[in-house]
Amino acid sequence: MEYEVIVVGAGHAGCEAALATSRCGHKTLLITGNLKNVATMPCNPSIGGSAKGIIVREIDALGGEMGINADKTLIQMKMLNSSKGPAVRSLRAQADKVTYPQEMLKTLKNTKNLYLKEAMVEDLIVEDSMVKGIITNNGEKISSNIVILTTGTYLKSDILIGSTRTRSGPHDEKPSMHLSDNLKKYGFEILRLKTGTPPRIERSSIDFSKAKREDGDRELYTFSHDIKPLYDVDNQEPCYLIYTTPTTHKIILDNLNKSAMYGGLSDITGVGPRYCPSIEDKLVKFKDKDRHQLFLEPESLYYDDIYLQGFSTSMPKDIQEKMVHSLPGLENAKILRYAYAIEYDAIYPTQINASLETKIVKNLYTAGQINGTSGYEEAAAQGLMAGINASLKLKGKDPLILKRNEAYIGVLIDDLVTKGTIEPYRMLTSRAEYRLLLRHDNADIRLREYGYKVGLIDEERYKRFKNKLELIKEFRNYLKSTKITPKKEINDILNKIGSPTLKDGICLYDLLRRNEITINILKQFNLLNSNYDKEIEEQLEIEVKYEGYIKKIEREAEKMLKNEEKLIPSDIDYDKVKNLATEARQKLKQVRPTSIGQALRISGVNPSDISILMVYLRKKYNE
């Protein structure tokens, strides 16, 4: 074999996959259609967001690259949901669209065992249902033990603007014309998906005085657990908020039939994401709203494009001009790039295992949009896991499958392979039933050990992590062993804070349980001496304040894990399980869940079906 691993596609998934396998010591080839487009951000200029920011933290905890690369290149940083609870806090960065890919390319080039190549892959070499390499559009064959497909939106992609359909990748890149047909030939069921992107506006043509300025947070943050912030808190790029006008709405509604999605094109089969609707969709679906929010986001410090978030559309160019000019401050705006929708092929994700190896072709892994997801972070997370599991397979070890109570990444992959998807899948906090455990603040505590074990976290980073755990323990002991007594001066302080006075002695740990008491307040009144980092203090504060809830969720997770342990024999014949509902039988045959726990999460499989399945298993396998 020429390579141990070939990664096809160098987007966010492909970069993580290739870095993971090469860093784990495997000779890896990363093939992309255009080396200038490594890790580009063809849509929004941001990394993170609700739930997604936590995914980036998890990627970093496991030894992936996205967090560090975003820290190196961000131009604005915000902590979202900071008042809504510890579990839902999440970072969002405006990342520079020029430097982000540059930095990633630099990292790829400097990585041992990793080779880069520019080519379009159009077929696989498959023997006895096992992949042996790839074939490029020039007919070149390259052999490898493992192939990871991270093809993004490039499979037979069509760009849709108004009534025109053009076979093309994003930003006029070449699409892959035959790979998805060839996948079909090997037995994969292909899914058609659709997504869209809004217009880009020239910065100097916008009158920002009519928009509301949105600045970054005044506090410094990083995605990475290992580096100090690299940006200047006083020198962040602002975003701006504007609203659509009645004129905008009139233009859109008057021209609705010209939109590719509303009759402009009659051959659209792709299913778009409900959570990311075009502006036409928003107007049609939320008729009673007299305005919609739009954000003006800078794409880069190095060029002039402003991304018009919330205004994705597939209207023809002349209508787009009118629509943009109806917006406050954009009366004279110059559109640098028109909005478009893109249709592309993906595979039904129930055809892959939780390790991201496909069920149909052995040693073939898939990650990112080809699996039906949407979003840079979702892609990177899968790329990293595909890389990790490819490496583990090459080493003859069991795959790393993160559980739903361990990581958003676990929720993401479990949802994909268990429930499948018919629209581009985006991570939402509400998809994670144990989200109180899956926090921004404890990503490393949850996952760094795994990263170390698979070989992506080096000794130095691991030592730092172990040290952090030590400090948490130390600080906890300090809080538990430091008692304060009901002295007058202490009760005076408590009175001032509005907290009940003490009758008996109490340790600081227990005092912190009170809602109105925080570590900061204790420090302020000199009741607590702490030289610990903010993150250590935060860890303890969350632990103390939400202990009851965290314990409860942990118990629920344990219950779930018990169902995960109830394994379903891989040779089960669902046709022999009498009385299953037709839909349930069909879904069970398709997904072939490995455990009762997984079976329970399949949509269309009802609790009564599970009861029937359990009865069957008890009868058949216990008797």
Partner: protein
């Protein structure tokens, strides 16, 4: 493959006909073997066929046989029902014939079990059938029928929908933090919504408890000194209303001395250990025993003797029952009045069991306390079994916790946790939330597996 089960589906010894139900893959074949008339394997589904049940050549009974083929049947299996006309002995003979020809005697509730396992009915329906089988009064029967129709399921579904609306609004706010035009739900804004929901839930719990009273009846303890007339009062009540059952185990672990149907309300008279005995219990033991009973039952009937001065022990008991559903009865008003009750301002009913005075008034008082006429029997969509009510109450508890959290200004994500729990608990009632306990409960109820 499921084996074929058979059982007599009507109460033995009651009514002119009795029905034997057979369910399973072989039911039509088995019945056909002992049926003289049309070939049942060839008749259309959902037909009634006239003929005879025969043993070899001997005619056992003249019958009507309903043939219902899978899946549109109660169990979703092939079902045959035989309408026998010949009384208990013949019916039993027909059943025996079925058993010797390949059917198995059904376990109690097994038809329902199959209906559930085959997806014909959900858990709440299954409970409805159970209740219907056990129904003892007309009101009781109406609740069961509503349950069977899924009205109770709908009630819970509506509750869940209301709750999921609040929850999903919170979720949207968390997942799309940058969108200001989605109404930002702060604790203050959701508080009134949650309180409204809590009121709805409380109302349903209240109604359901009424339903439970109708379904399971109330446990009544008759207490009083020996020889005060407890047993004769019991007999008077039993005699008048004709005891439904005597000396059977009740729903509690106590022995039910007798059941009385009081205009639709079932009174389970709990044995008060010695109520029927005429021996002279030492007073002290009597008081202790009485105190125990007071804690256990729903309604206390405390009998005093008109002809004797009140004792200290009796005053103790009067104090104890003040805050409970209780009726103080003074018996033996046919004799000279020696009793003097001071400081007791609740209603007292004076009776003479011997002369049959005041019994009617006592019964009316019981009806008044439980407002039996006030419960609307037409729309009896209550969740009347203990399991459902307990889940409703647990759900209410979660809602209350979330309200407490809002008042303490906890983050909305924490507030939502209890709302979600409440939603899941409601789901358990209708079997929409899977849980091990539910399955275990099913396995234990339906004796599945080994």
């Amino acid at each position: 493959m499921n084996d074929t089960i058979a059982a007599i589906s009507t109460a033995l010894g009651v009514g002119a006909i009795s029905i034997i139900r057979v369910s399973g893959d072989d039911s039509i074949n088995i019945v056909n073997k002992i049926f003289k008339g049309k070939d049942l394997t060839k008749v259309k589904s959902h037909t009634i066929n006239y003929g005879y049940i025969i043993d070899n050549r001997e005619i056992i009974d003249e019958v009507l046989v309903s043939v219902m083929k899978s899946p549109k049947t109660f169990t979703k299996e092939d079902i045959v029902e035989i309408n026998c006309h010949g009384g208990v002995a013949t019916t039993n003979r027909v059943l025996e014939l079925l058993l010797t020809n390949g059917a198995r005697l059904a376990d109690p509730g097994e038809f329902t079990k199959r209906a559930f396992l085959n997806g014909r009915i959900d858990l709440i329906n299954a409970e409805g059938v159970m209740d219907l089988i056990n129904a003892k009064t007309e009101k009781n029967r109406q609740i069961s029928i509503n349950k069977l129709n899924g009205k109770a399921s709908n009630l819970v579904k509506e509750l869940r929908e209301k709750l999921i609306k609040i929850i999903s609004n919170i979720e949207v706010n968390i997942d799309y933090p940058e969108y200001e035009d989605i109404e930002v739900l702060t604790n203050e804004k959701i508080l009134p919504e949650i309180i409204t929901f809590k009121n709805d839930l409380e109302k349903i719990i209240k109604d359901s408890e009424d339903g439970k009273i109708i379904n399971e009846g109330i446990n009544v303890g008759i207490i009083g000194k020996p020889n005060v007339g407890k047993s004769s009062l019991l007999n008077a009540l039993l005699e008048e209303e004709k005891a439904i059952v005597t000396d059977i185990e009740g729903t509690t672990r106590d022995i039910v001395e007798g059941k009385i149907n009081l205009g639709g309300l079932i009174l389970n008279i709990i044995d008060t250990a010695g109520i029927r005995e005429t021996d002279n219990l030492v007073e002290k033991i009597g008081v202790e025993k009485s105190m125990e009973i007071i804690d256990k039952v729903d309604l206390i009937i405390f009998v005093l003797n008109n002809n004797e001065a009140i004792t200290e022990e009796e005053i103790k008991i009067l104090n104890k029952i003040k805050d409970k559903n209780s009726i103080v009865v003074i018996n033996k008003i046919d004799l000279e009045k020696k009793i003097k009750l001071t400081n007791y301002n609740k209603k007292i009913i004076e009776i003479s069991v011997k002369d049959n005075i005041g019994i009617e008034e006592l019964k009316n008082e019981i009806k008044r306390i439980y407002n039996i006429e006030g419960i609307d029997t037409k729309d009896m969509t209550y969740l009347s079994n203990a399991r459902s009510i307990s889940l409703l109450k647990q759900s209410l508890l979660k809602i209350s916790t979330s309200i407490k959290n809002i008042e303490e200004n906890a983050p909305i994500d924490i507030v939502e946790l209890d709302l979600k729990n409440a939603w899941e608990l409601l789901g358990k009632i209708i079997g929409e939330t899977y849980s091990d306990e539910l399955l275990d409960e099913l396995f234990s109820r339906f004796c599945l597996g080994k």
